[in-house]
């Protein structure tokens, strides 16, 4: 089976007071294709850095990340950095629709319908509350047709009603796409992932048994 993601000797460090602080240290692995992958780690373990490296927004200091050829991968949902705060929701949608060759009005209609942001779509993103921003990010991402969706702590600030709708939408997407899920909500990992990686001390530890991975993570 073609690996979804191949990491070859990937290291990423940040300089803290002149010293290298490794977040990812010499990681080489093949993330399996055809299944959804959960990523677990304590706060500060480097999950967001890992997601940024996987999504190519941050380059590793060493090594490389290779995705299966031809795969359309989402931006990390939950990363507001992909959008421009000074632009309105609609303007951001217009930019994204151009990037992906989608009809702008069609995309706006889908996001309006799903995120229920009403006239806020015509206001700058920087005026949105964190919950609204989360709804916007999720709605725009799932309105696109990706082979693989990257979810990074997406629903942590959304209200219960929207979380439920989002989970229903994820169930629908799971029928045709795979996920890379970073979450502290074990239920989300258990529901959608078929394998788990635990990020600890700069290394990724693989578990093909999700429950086992969760138990290891909870003991960290």
């Amino acid at each position: 089976m073609t690996p979804l993601i191949t990491m070859e000797n990937v290291s990423k460090f940040y300089r803290v007071k002149g010293r290298k602080h490794y977040v990812l240290r010499d990681i080489s692995l093949d993330m399996p294709g055809g299944m959804s992958i959960g990523i677990l780690g304590r706060n500060g373990a480097g999950k967001s850095t890992l997601v940024s490296v996987l999504s190519r927004a941050i380059r590793p200091n060493q090594g490389r990340v290779i995705w299966a050829p031809g795969i359309e991968v989402s931006w990390p949902m939950g990363f507001g950095a992909a959008f421009v705060g000074q632009l309105t929701g609609q303007e951001n949608l217009k930019v994204v629709s151009r990037f992906y060759g989608r009809d702008w009005r069609d995309l706006v209609a889908q996001v309006e319908d799903f995120a229920e942001l009403g006239e806020y779509l015509d206001m700058p993103l920087e005026t949105y509350s964190s919950g609204m921003r989360s709804r916007f990010n999720f709605a725009i991402s799932v309105a696109m047709d990706f082979d693989c969706y990257i979810f990074d702590e997406l629903m942590s600030v959304a209200d219960a009603r929207f979380r439920q709708r989002a989970e229903e939408e994820m169930h629908r997407l799971a029928g045709r796409s795979t996920f890379v899920v970073v979450s502290h909500r074990m239920k989300t990992i258990q529901t959608f992932c078929q394998c788990v990686y635990v990020l600890h001390n700069g290394k990724l530890h693989y578990f093909d048994n999700v429950q086992e991975g969760i138990e290891v993570y909870e003991r960290l």
Partner: protein, 272 residues
Amino acid sequence: MSSTDLGRNRDRRSTFIGALRVQGRVLNGLLTRELASRFGKRGTGMLFTFLIPGGQIVIIALLRVFSGLPGYAGMPIFPFTACGLLFFRGWRNMVTDQIDAVRSSTGLLYFRQVTELDIYLGRFLVNLTINLTVAVVIYMVMRIFGLSGPAQEPLYLLLLLLLSNFFGMVYGMTLASIGSFFPVIRSINVLTMRVLLFLSGVFFVVPELPPAVREYLLWNPLLHIAELSRTYYFIEYDTAYGDLSYVLKWVGGFFVTAFLLERLFRDRITAR
């Protein structure tokens, strides 16, 4: 989902035409983003894009007139000033914009089809479009108010504008790479731009300079661009100093340097 489903979107990118289509979409998206960021829905941003250079042309022209230096060799003063200022201003805006192009847009890299070079190219196209539009509008205003005769070589002027803007892009990209090691380069650039404003033919043509100074100032390729712009614009002026091949050598040198440094230090430029 089965493993055979992996890459069901593959056809979209598998051909050269497909890749070009993706490139076109990326640039389209970047242009949309840049224009919306700069001008938004208010017309004031757009208005000032024309008013500021227009005002500067008037002020510099009046300064020359009150200093007893009307247009040289019969060149009308407003187009004389416009030639010098618009080429320099376009170059300067391009440089300033390119220095921070990637650093201020790293969020775009979350979209996997967007690369650092796309960001540079997107900003180049936006600035080029703005600079070209400003030049055409100011030219038309001068013509309507009878301040200028027709440009003699509009095609050459267009190509010179394109060349000077491209020069600005590659020079700015070079500074962006150097700036990833030495952030002070941004402050130095601000100072350099102020000095260059007075040395690049915005206020004068080369024959007006003392012979002893000419030799040194002609090292500056921007002065050659100003000389050439006036030669292409006016029937009254044919520069003995502006040298296109000299400008091309500078542009070629910075072109190679910019792309080499960008490739070598890309990681540092995008480092967060």
